[in-house]
């Protein structure tokens, strides 16, 4: 694994600075909505990052990961509604909920792999979704909203979007660092091996199920935390957070940004949300062009961002070639495509 996948250190530093400086700058420029927007991006970035652990590095396609977001959101919302607004308590509960739910779902789903795994995760997620829509006490289909703000003793109160934003930023930065270390650790090596060749992994003595389960639990737990953060931001929760189409969106975020990279999912989350919002500004029927774009994306630019780079470079080359002689064409286009492909 080379550093190209992680981006240059200076690039990451600049990114961090931008993210840290965003709220005061946005407010000063009279665009406070940018903070809310970025907060949402970061929440889903966190969820996509977590999903990428098992998807991009574990080779497991889960079509039910949104269920963890939903469970986290419900946990926080229910506690807030009951008057328990201590942020540390929320965190403790989120961890417990996340660990337990991912342990149970993982223990069942990981007895299969490949397509069957996809279907089981989908079915389990929908199961929980239907339970959510059926529970009238918790708002059923419509969900419910709550008032009030979480506080962490005297340290911090999540009273406005800016404070929530910084809390989210803390979590995503923490998750990124943890992920970085994890992928290079012994656990990371073992996990990547199970993705590449699980049969071989077993034959050298690696109990594949165990490692996948741990990865799944780590992934699910961080998604649950992301769900809690989402509740803080929207002060609302509904079963829709858990619908399988939300899980599909998470998968898309990872795909767009580039599976198997560290920061890709975060970029993918930003890209997809930007795309959705952008299209929504053009037409109320934004889902139609979005659907088509997604189909084309999967068919032509499956590796996400890196494919865009390649396609872009190839397109530029083709344009340049048109301005040259035929003999020069051959040589130029040939070497260019060999250079550009990763």
């Amino acid at each position: 694994m080379n550093n190209r996948k992680f981006g240059s250190p200076s690039g990451i530093a600049i990114l961090c600075l931008i993210l840290l400086a965003l709220p005061p700058v946005a407010v000063a420029m009279g665009q406070p909505y940018a903070v809310t927007f970025m907060a949402r991006v970061l929440i889903f970035g966190l969820a996509a990052l977590s999903l990428n652990l098992i998807l991009g590095f574990g080779g497991l396609t889960s079509l039910g990961h949104a269920v963890f977001i939903g469970l986290g959101a419900y946990a926080v919302s229910l506690m807030m509604q009951a008057g328990a607004s201590n942020g540390f308590l929320h965190l403790a509960v989120l961890l417990v909920v996340g660990l337990l739910s991912s342990l149970i779902i993982g223990a069942v789903a990981l007895r299969t792999s490949g397509l069957a795994f996809l279907m089981v995760t989908l079915a389990l997620a929908q199961l929980i979704y239907f339970v959510g829509t059926g529970l009238r006490r918790f708002g059923g289909d419509d969900g419910f909203s709550f008032r009030g703000h979480a506080d962490f003793g005297g340290l911090l109160t999540l009273s406005n979007d800016t404070s929530i934003y910084y809390y989210i930023l803390f979590w995503i930065m923490l998750a990124t660092v943890l992920m970085y270390r994890l992928l290079r650790s012994r656990f990371g090596l073992a996990l990547r091996a199970t993705m590449g060749n699980s049969q071989r992994a077993e034959s050298i003595g690696l109990p594949v199920f165990r490692y996948r389960l741990v990865a799944f639990v780590l992934s699910g737990t961080f998604c649950t935390i992301a769900g809690g953060l989402l509740a803080y931001l929207t002060q609302f929760v509904s079963p829709a957070y858990m619908h399988w189409s939300r899980s599909a969106e998470l998968l898309l975020m990872v795909l767009i940004g580039g599976m198997g990279t560290l920061l890709g999912p975060i970029i993918g989350a930003a890209a997809l949300i930007l795309l959705e919002e952008g299209l929504a500004m053009l037409t109320p029927h934004w889902q139609a062009p979005l659907g088509i774009l997604l189909v084309m994306l999967v068919i032509f630019a499956r590796n996400g961002i890196s494919d865009f780079r390649v396609l872009f470079v190839l397109a530029i080359d083709r344009l340049r070639a048109k301005a040259k002689s035929p003999a020069e064409n051959e040589a130029q286009v040939g070497t260019a495509s060999r250079k550009a492909l990763p």
Partner: protein, 308 residues
């Protein structure tokens, strides 16, 4: 109170739902078994069948004509999508197929919204079929549902004949068993694929068209059916028509009976409040629990004839 009559009715409803589910699932399981193609957009063909049936029914003034014409229209639509999108996905891995067909679902749902509006279209059962067969107290069987069962069974028989007795059917069975061999033998695989897509689309369209009067025809309809279809495929075994049939019947009956019986059973053990809250949820849970059970103990499916 659970009377024998009520149970019978639920059984009947379960069978009817099961047949509809079978029509929907048959195409999907063939796609998965032969083409190894996970096509979520199958649900959009179901929706298209329902919408076309309503639109054509209104245009021709006949429910029957509308329903019958909806099938070729949907097949035509499926062929276009096959040409534009599906055929580029056959060799891709399942993640790509899921995400691409998810995009298609999004597109088609929105198109339905654009053309027919976001609200549902309500079709009523034609007058000739709106009666009931009453066999006793609470044992009321709507004629229309009986019709669906009839049509469904006929289709199942026809499908079985197709698969077992015709050359195309033999190719389909061979393709389900060993897709690479079919290609090696020199069969034009692309034509076979198109055949399978068309067949599946026709069945889904029929399911959608017939379901119109029972559910509202709206964008995104079939969402629940899609998930249940996957459950049916797991229980019945991938690629097995017979398996899909029996599994669909099983799912339909368990679902219908479970939904009514479980809450009542529950209320015998706990307070009405809890029963009211958890009962219906448990009813729908039963199916998924069944699926998980199958995956854990007999992963190739309950009715699978051979291992894939």
């Amino acid at each position: 109170m659970i009377t024998p009559g009520l149970l019978l009715v639920q059984l009947f409803n379960g069978l009817q739902f099961g047949i509809t589910l079978f029509l929907f699932t048959a195409g999907l399981t063939l796609l998965l078994g032969i083409l190894n193609f996970m096509n979520l957009a199958h649900v959009s063909l179901y929706m298209a069948g329902a919408y076309f049936a309503v639109a054509l029914g209104q245009w021709t003034g006949s429910f029957w004509l509308g329903t019958i014409l909806a099938v070729p229209c949907t097949i035509a639509l499926a062929m276009v999508v096959e040409y534009l999108a599906f055929r580029r996905l056959y060799r891709r891995d399942h993640l790509d197929q899921v995400l691409a067909t998810f995009g298609l679902i999004m597109f088609f749902n929105e198109m339905a919204r654009i053309v027919w509006g976001a609200g549902g279209l309500y079709v009523s059962v034609p007058a000739a079929l709106s009666g009931n067969i009453v066999l006793g107290e609470a044992a009321i069987f709507p004629v229309y549902r009986l019709l669906i069962i009839g049509v469904g069974c006929l289709t199942a028989v026809g499908l079985t004949w197709l698969i077992r007795r015709t050359r195309t059917g033999m190719l389909i069975r061979a393709g389900a068993d060993k897709p690479e061999m079919v290609e090696a033998v020199g069969i034009d695989v692309r034509r076979l694929f198109r055949w399978v897509i068309g067949l599946g689309a026709g069945l889904a369209a029929l399911a959608g068209a017939l379901s119109g009067p029972l559910f509202s025809v709206e964008p995104g309809m079939g969402d629940a059916v899609l998930i249940l279809a996957l459950v049916v495929i797991v229980i019945g075994g991938i690629g097995s028509i017979r398996g899909s049939f029996y599994a669909a019947m099983l799912v339909g009956v368990v679902d219908a009976v479970g939904r009514t019986v479980l809450p009542v059973l529950f209320s015998m053990f706990t307070t009405p409040v809890v029963a009211d809250t958890l009962g219906p949820a448990l009813g729908s849970m039963l199916i998924y629990l069944l699926m998980i059970g199958v995956l854990l103990f007999k992963p190739e499916g309950l009715f699978a004839v051979k291992e894939r």
